[in-house]
Amino acid sequence: MIDVAFHSVTKRFPPHIVANDGVSFEIERGTVHALLGENGAGKSTLMNILYGLLQPDEGEILVRGKPQKISSPREAIALGIGMVHQHFRLVNTHTVCENVILGLRSTSFFFPAEKVRSRVHALSERYGLRVDPDARIWQLSAGEKQKVEILKVLYREASILILDEPTAVLTPQEVEELFRTMRAMKEEGKTCIFITHKLNEVMEIADRVTVMRQGKVVDTFSPTSTSPEELAEMMVGKKVVSVVPKRSVSSKAVLELKGVWAMGDKDLPALLDVSLTVREGEIVGVAGVAGNGQKELAEVIVGLRRVQRGHIFLDGRDVTLLSPRDIASLGVAYVPEERSIGLVGEMSVAENLMLRGYAEPPFSQGFWVDWNKVEAYSEHLIARYDIHPPLSEMPVRLLSGGNRQRVILARELERKPKLVVAANPTAGLDVQGVEAIHELLVRAQEEGAGVLLISGDLDELLKLSNRIVVLFRGEVMGEREKVQWTEEDRHSIGLVMGGIRI
């Protein structure tokens, strides 16, 4: 039984973009169907068409065998199609129940609290979506909020669920929970369309996978007949060579934190007695669910946040009280989590590449800036770091996420740093973008820099790190060092991320 069929669906965004180009494939009832592709491959556009947010220029969509013109999400919901968006659409100050029924037409004037509660409760039991129906949204973790989003869709009796990159915000344990829920829905005969660019997730959960590239369908098949490497190649269009980080490290410490305490933005302690060492040529991964002190850790090291107690040493020198500029000039590169802080969007690529060196020779003797030299230097970096489009004058806000990140890394790494502090450097990038950033980090490592890699993506940390520590509620936990990481490490680090001491 075919639930959804796309027949040569084409969607153009004039003047130049063809987001979907003759897309045809079928989705069977009661399966998990993965939609795999790089950023800009057209996955989200296609799903927005199915959910009634966009109209196709050509082609048709068949739902349960009947051609349908879906012109709004309301019509999609009437057809039993529900979507769980990547960014949550919940009212923070309302309870779970209130959010679930928000926007339902059939709701009576007086809040039918008991009825809703019992149905929400029944649905949570049935699909393993455990969440307190009376909790307010702001009290929930990202994983729980996602459960509410799924409950919303199930409450509307959707039989076709679109999940847009649902694992991006989850811990490994939460991902497992989500997959259990998806399997339960499958057993009930529901269809899940799962948008992702993570290969191992496709291998684990999907019955069928459709790979998209540049708006076209590459192929639809069963993932059991393939390997992650093959999937990556189909998705990118060429062979993806993964970097291999250096496995041996020197014993000389570059960065040492000794008993560091610091406050968060809300004046509550965010770092509690953190001690940490990064050695020359070592990549130290900091794992943890976002909001456990990662941001504060990075800011304390680069001098943006005051240390309340404790000391930070760089190459044996106490830098605890130095300014951000002094710390940077001692050889600390920083890739901040928010790219808007690392770059000035309105300024050109050349000017952004200059943000660290504008006042120093050879570009300036202090007063005038020699923009001819800056221009030449910028052309050089654009070529060396493969920044696209190769235009020095282009405002950086017009670059793609991956290229913006390259501008930051080019600026920071070109100064031959002793220490690189990188916070979620690959967040939101596609496979090729991620590989490029990993390559640059490993290059810095090979040149002898210590790298502190803070990331919410455990796979990334397992791939690159010589050592991994977990931050939980501002404390360092579960530090371990390995040459090769196993599935078992992955599991136990995941548990520590959830606050379980081993």
């Binding site: 965004f13 500029r325 006042a359």
Partner: protein, 362 residues
């Protein structure tokens, strides 16, 4: 006919220029309603207006006379606005410059060869220090500089009123409230028989060019732009926001003070009622800087334009008996249309049928 609105990748200088022109035209059209209410044909009003602004040598000199303070203040405000420091207090800073100049001319007893340099030097300093008050309050206590700089305008205005009615009231002026006339050593030379002082005109053009190169070519100008575009990045780089705030307030206040000296030394030759010293130049210069998109070089053009607006407005008042406030309405309308067309410089309109609501971007 249907149309779509699409984000435009780059806001080009030419499109900004055309949109600014469009705003001015729309403001003129909008103000025609008021002319009709005054039983004046809008066409006659426009003709009178243009004649009063450009129609004769006298008209042109009046336009230049108004453009000079707008240029000096506009360049300073451009620098401040680039750094996202909103100095709304130029009006008061102009008055402080005028007060300092008056003190030098009438009460300091300096030798006459030092009189003009002393007036400009102290006038600049007085305006700058007046502007540093909101700057320090902003840096030290995070007080919004819009409020404090605006409030100081009223303080400055009342200070002038107190001086001209009290301790500095002229001996030979009988019932009027203004000071004695400056000695001639404190008068600025003018171009020919016109009332356009050439010194301040020259300085205005020079600072506009200098401001442009300062922003574009110097390390400090670069820091200023970083602070203005992204304060967080500036923090990360260790650029002191406080230092930049002090700098732009000092410069914009100083230039306003300088303009105030130009008004009393070049035109009035005495200190008089605040509304006569400055015809709201400190406020109009905000629009001048805005219309120039905070580009000091472009303020040469916009200051001239607003100079024309004021002298054309004078002509309206004199020839057609329309209150001067109508010109304020015109100013307001121009600002209104400028802000609304701002959006259009970031987007463009594509005419043609939009098949099935394609306005949503991927």
């Amino acid at each position: 006919m249907q149309f779509r609105v699409e984000p435009s990748l780059q806001s080009k200088a030419s499109s900004i220029f055309l949109l600014s022109l469009l705003s001015i035209v729309l403001a003129f059209l909008g103000s025609s309603v008021i002319f009709v209410f005054y039983r004046v044909s809008p066409w006659e009003a426009y003709l009178t207006f243009f004649h009063g602004a450009f129609g004769s040598w006298y008209a042109l000199s009046e336009t230049f006379k108004r453009a000079i303070p707008l240029l000096l203040v506009g360049v300073g405000l451009s620098l401040a606005f680039r750094a996202q420091v909103l100095n709304i207090g130029a009006e008061g800073q102009i008055l402080l410059g005028a007060i300092a100049a008056t003190w030098v001319a009438l009460f300091s007893g300096v030798p006459s060869s030092f009189m003009l340099p002393g007036m400009f030097f102290l006038g600049f300093l007085a305006g700058a220090i007046w502007a540093l008050v909101p700057a320090v309050l902003k840096i030290r206590f995070a007080v919004n500089e819009v409020l404090t700089s605006l409030m100081l305008n009223y303080v400055a205005s009342n200070l002038v009123l107190y001086l001209i009615g009290g301790p500095w009231k002229g001996k030979g002026v009988r019932g009027f409230t203004y000071t004695d006339t400056f000695p001639e050593a404190g008068w600025l030379g003018t171009i020919g028989t016109s009332r356009v002082p050439y010194f301040t005109l020259l300085v205005g053009v020079v600072v506009a060019v200098a401001g442009y190169f300062f922003l574009k070519k110097t390390a400090l100008g670069f820091e200023l732009r970083v602070v203005g575009s992204s304060p967080e990045t500036a923090r990360l780089l260790g650029i002191s926001e406080g230092k930049i705030t002090l700098l732009v307030m000092f410069l914009s206040g100083g230039l306003a003070g300088f303009a105030g000296v130009g008004e009393v030394a070049g035109i009035h030759h005495l200190l008089r009622h605040p509304s006569h010293i400055s015809l709201g130049y400190g406020y109009t210069a905000i629009i001048v800087a805005w219309l120039a998109r905070a580009n000091p070089l472009a303020t040469i053009l916009t200051a001239f334009l607003f100079g024309a607006l004021i002298s054309g407005g004078d002509a309206l008042k004199v020839s057609l008996g329309i209150p001067f406030q109508v010109v304020s309405v015109l100013n307001g309308l121009i600002l209104f249309f400028l802000i609304s067309t701002e959006l259009l410089s970031r987007y463009r309109i594509v005419w043609g049928s939009s098949r099935g609501g394609g306005a949503i971007e991927p």
